[in-house]
């Protein structure tokens, strides 16, 4: 059985009294696209920096492609491509020369530069100085840099930041292509719609702690609700629904009832209302988006911490 692409055990980073990452246990399997989410300051970038041996953990261990990042950084990171925080380049060098620096440093063959520039569609401007690049072009160049070592694992921190919608779609396509080639993608992004479209599994971090993890489909399934349109007064229906033990919450939204209940009990719910003489004009399963889920779990965590 192959080792996971990323495995962290009790990974912790403290800055004085503040805990940036708190005993994080994470497992990313090879070949999957994994979304790593969290609000600003949640500890995502610190986690990525620890995975890349840029920040030392205060406690715990990080294994990347089966190797301990602390003990064998060169081996662990040999097949990792990363795009960390904002794109960082030498402004006085061209995009091409910036990639040459990375090729030389990593002992990589320089013909890879042309291939990666072509992959991110930056060949035409490759010989311009980076200081004249737009944010989107820098973003593409950072992605090209991440692809240079032909990596098995690609760690991407906000890869579509600063890109226009067309550019975002292109990068999304590129990420899919990379994953289709068997690579593991560890994607950190605030664009939840993008993560929902791309990722098979996600983890959500809040104040350094893992508050949710799992397959996107499973997480969203548990957060699906029912929407009912009832002609006339909603109050009797609301009271009835609240009395059902498997209904967790009922709320009125734009003259309709939103019911937090398992979607598979929709028919049963309709039956209860019909027997009480309340006719349902429309009943739909309200699919939850990753954004809804994210906002809900982070808000819930906030409430718990108060």
């Amino acid at each position: 059985m192959p080792t996971p692409a990323i495995e962290t055990t009790e990974l912790t980073r403290r800055y004085g009294a503040r805990v940036a990452v708190d005993a994080l246990n994470l497992r990313v399997e090879r070949g999957e696209i994994f979304g790593f989410l969290g609000p600003n300051g949640a500890g995502k970038t610190t986690t990525i920096a620890m995975l890349l041996n840029l920040v030392r953990p205060s406690h715990g261990q990080a294994l990347v492609l089966g190797c301990d990042v602390q003990r064998e950084p060169a081996r662990a990171l040999a097949h990792v491509g990363a795009m960390i925080e904002a794109p960082a380049f030498y402004p006085y060098l061209s995009g091409y020369d910036n990639l040459r620096v990375l090729c030389k440093a990593g002992g990589l063959p320089e013909p890879r530069i042309e291939q990666t520039l072509a992959a991110v569609e930056l060949r035409k401007r490759a010989h311009d100085k980076v200081q004249v690049y737009s944010q989107g072009m820098r973003q593409r160049l950072a992605l090209a840099a991440a692809l240079l070592p032909d990596p098995e694992l690609i760690i991407l921190d906000e890869p579509t930041n600063g890109l226009d919608p067309a550019g975002t779609a292109e990068i999304r396509g590129l990420i899919r292509d990379l994953a289709a080639g068997g690579r593991t993608i560890f994607l950190c992004s605030h664009m939840l719609h993008e993560v929902e479209q791309l990722c098979e599994r996600v983890a959500i971090l809040k104040q350094g702690r893992l508050i949710a993890e799992g397959r996107v489909a499973d997480l969203l399934h548990h957060h699906q609700g029912l929407r009912l349109r009832i002609e006339g007064d909603l109050a009797p229906a609301e009271a009835l629904l609240r009395s059902l033990p498997w209904v967790q919450a009922v709320s009125q939204v734009h003259g309709q009832l939103m019911v937090d209940a398992p979607p598979e009990r929709a028919a049963e719910l309709n039956g209860h209302l019909a027997r009480a003489g309340i006719l349902v004009a429309e009943l739909t399963i309200q699919a939850a988006s990753l954004e809804d889920f994210f906002l809900e779990v982070t808000a819930e965590e906030e409430r718990k911490n108060r």
Partner: protein, 298 residues
Amino acid sequence: MLRNLFAAEWLKLYRRPLAWGLLAIFLGLMLLSQGLWALVLALHIGAVGGLELQALAPAQVEQLKLQLSFPGVFGAVLGQLNGTGGILAIILAAGALGSDYSWGTMRTLLARAPARGSYLAAKTLALLLALLLATLIALLVGSLVAFIVSVWLDLPLRIRFSDLALLPLGIARALLVILPYLLATLACAAWGRSALAGMGGGLIFLALDVGAGSLSSLGLVNELVLFMINLLLQPNITTLVVLNGQLFGLDPSLLTSALDLAYLPSPLQAIFVVLIYSSSFGYVAWRTLARRDVSGQQ
């Protein structure tokens, strides 16, 4: 790994406008001082429209003649490299390491090649190579000026092979003199994770060290005090600079009245002490870089 990183560092350094700008400043200052020496000499020997200046003693005039002709010009250029060149080397070193922090390029680079010791060694070697090339260019430019001045002021114009053969020793000594300041600067830049910290730390250290050099007069008190003072960096640096001047027939004490050669440490001690200081600063730089986080909160 070291070879790869050195190639990367060299590419970054030789394409960096700051490096060429600092070289241009150094050459400009060198030409200015050589020009002023030539003018002073010309005034002393009445070569400027009949004007005559008598401010220097005959031995000092002879010294100026030596500095402006072969082979003394080599000693003069190497001396300047250890003066103003040292300050510019500090700025270059601070920029080379500190910018990697401030631009964020260090995290990209170390995520690719995570051996931090090799990264620091490669950077130091690339800086030394840049200084070596700058020295060769300065020697060429200085020689050109010496040629022109020699023709203008009718100074002896002869370059002997034996003088040229001494150049590698002189250059090696000049680079050794810069090495501790360079490594102290890298240590400060790694500690403060910025070019500003490197530059500030390097220049403050240089200023303090030069200030401590003035303590050498306390060596008159007794042998023990002299021994202690000569363990500071500056007297040992002075020994190496004086040796470089003497290598090409110059006597720096003639133009610097405060310099008393009798109290300077021996050449062997000078090399040893400078190497000890350099190793200590190099170790601190490596230790700081290896233990500190590259990104995130300090």
